[in-house]
């Protein structure tokens, strides 16, 4: 197990290094840089002054030099300065991370709360009208673009309540916060709950067909106890995986939801930073997303090992 852990950890590092290179190069391939953006608000571009800005920011250095400077900084927790605000990137990102984290947690909670039980019910009532309805609802969850759903929610609120549930000021207490985030969280969690429901359903069905369930059934265990005690217990495993992966991938959905609801989290900030060619911010954020994803995957694997003793990590 420990050799597996070491190997897994090293692979994780390798992946992160790869990402750092790819994101670094992709950013520098983008048409135009921060100097162009800065001149945009002045309504012209002066080549000499632009070169001066590039020099100031170190953008005139060869790309490998810039890359190693960045990595050197990362190692000592120095993320550089935002090109746009000229503030340390860490100060720009720090307050925004909890906002997105809370939103993601709420969305994930929402999706488990709905996805898991509905998936189980759908499996148990396989091929009934209820199952069909739930399958259609879950498929529509995967089909509705989240930005459209968010816009529809906004339109609904304005039409019926004359107000809009968007972020304006930081919430003052926990309740306000919950109220503020719950609508966007539901908008983005709808898709995840659909995914979790589908996966729960298919894992349940698979487990229900397996030998030991048949054995339990032949021994006279009640249907309910079979479904909920034996089948669910074993179906939880693959579901854990998808929940883990979803947690990291929620950020994709949040990019758009935060934009529509004007929530000042990191996902919204990522899009802004890309448009502004704010390299230090984009680099740090993408690395953060990658680290979260990779670590969650790692934890999911570990959890697998704990939950399912049949899996051995001998290699």
């Amino acid at each position: 197990m420990s050799t597996y852990l070491v190997k897994r950890f090293l692979l994780m590092l390798l992946t992160l290094i790869g990402i750092s290179i790819i994101i670094f190069v992709l950013l520098r391939l983008m048409p135009g840089n921060i100097a162009d953006i800065m001149f945009d608000s002045a309504g012209f571009v002066d080549p000499a002054e632009k070169a001066q800005i590039e020099k100031e920011l170190g953008l005139d250095q060869p790309i490998p030099v810039q890359y190693f400077d960045w990595i050197k900084g990362l190692l000592v927790w120095d993320l550089g300065f935002s090109y746009v605000s000229e503030m340390p990137a860490i100060d720009e990102l720090g307050p925004r991370i909890p906002i997105t984290a809370k939103l993601a947690a709420l969305a994930l909670g929402f999706s488990i709360l709905f996805g898991l039980p509905l998936g189980v019910i759908s499996a148990v009532k396989q091929d009934t009208a209820l199952d069909y309805i739930m399958r259609i609802v879950s498929l529509s969850g995967l089909s509705l673009p989240s930005f459209w759903l968010a816009l529809l929610i906004l339109m609904f609120f304005v039409a019926n309540f004359g107000s809009i549930p968007i972020y304006m000021d930081p919430p003052e207490n926990l309740w306000d916060e919950l109220v503020l985030y719950s609508i966007p969280a539901a908008a983005v969690g709808f898709r995840s709950s659909a995914l979790i429901m589908r996966l729960t359903r298919s894992s349940m069905l698979e487990v229900m067909r397996q030998d030991y369930i048949r054995t339990a059934r032949s021994k006279g265990a009640s249907e309910n106890s079979i479904n909920y005690r034996h089948a669910l217990k074993n179906a939880v495993l693959p579901v854990t995986t998808i929940i883990g992966i979803e947690a990291a991938f929620l950020i994709g959905g949040l990019i758009i939801t935060e934009t529509v609801f004007n929530i000042p989290g990191v996902a919204h900030f990522l899009v802004e930073a890309i448009l502004m060619r704010d390299y230090p911010i984009v680099q740090s954020l993408v690395m953060l997303i990658a680290i979260v994803t990779v670590v969650i995957n790692f934890l999911v694997d570990l959890l697998y090992a704990v939950l399912d003793p049949r899996i051995k990590y001998a290699e």
Binding site: L14, T15, G18, L144, P145, L152, G252, G253, T259
Partner: protein
Amino acid sequence: MVDIDHQAELVKAGAHISGRWDKLWFYARRYPLGAIGAVIMVVFVFSAVFADLIAPHDPLQTKASASLLAPNSDFVMGADMMGRDMFSRIIHGSRISLTVGVASILLGGIIGVIVGLMSGYLMGWFDLLMQRIIDIMQALPLLVLALVMAASLGPSLENTVIAISIPLVPNVARVVRSSTLSLREMPFVEAARAAGMSEIRVAVRHVLPNILAPLIVLFTAQLGAAILIEASLSFLGLGVPEPHPSWGRMLSESAAEYVRVAPWLVIFPGLAISLAVFGTNLFGDALRDILDPRQRN
């Protein structure tokens, strides 16, 4: 080999299976949701192919008097700020969505198949390298990777296709690789090799046909995802640029400005995206059940 299961069922059902249409009817009854999906997809493809014939107006024709016109008999889905007919734009938009969707699936699929085949077949350092690259690509959410790629390539139809197709490669490569790994040890593959067939021919003639079924299932599932990503990128202003009538683009900026004044500018494009993706997903589910019986529920 995948169809045997159903042939047996057909016989068991006692149906007088005489032609293709009967077979189709059988499947439609067996998988009603899939049939609905197929119908939606046919409508979608039909409107994309015959957009010029179906659309009552030129989707790019501006008209001052129709600016922000509510739906009426001439403009059944209303008109946008520039007085362009929404219905015609939606019809033409299906062409953009389908083009981007199919093109990125094909591009991503071809790259994925080549990488997966080579990986599973050659193994060794190539495989190791590819596995690491795939790890790297999978460590970022699809939309984040597509977003960064789209931004670095710049907005255009072709670049949107590239930006969407690359993040789709890992899934395909994984499926192809694992199938190849198991197939290459199969007796018939060994036999072909022993008979002096070149490695590439073995891969293409014997391995590829056997992984076609899971690939088709995967491609259908990814088509919906590709359409959604295109819409999202265009919504964020990084996808297909004007004047192409992209559904995502229609929803963004100018449409979002008039959410209250002209809600039809928000409702119809969103409905179009949802329906197209929904149809693809329904159809994909049924296709998976038919072609990939191991996963059947």
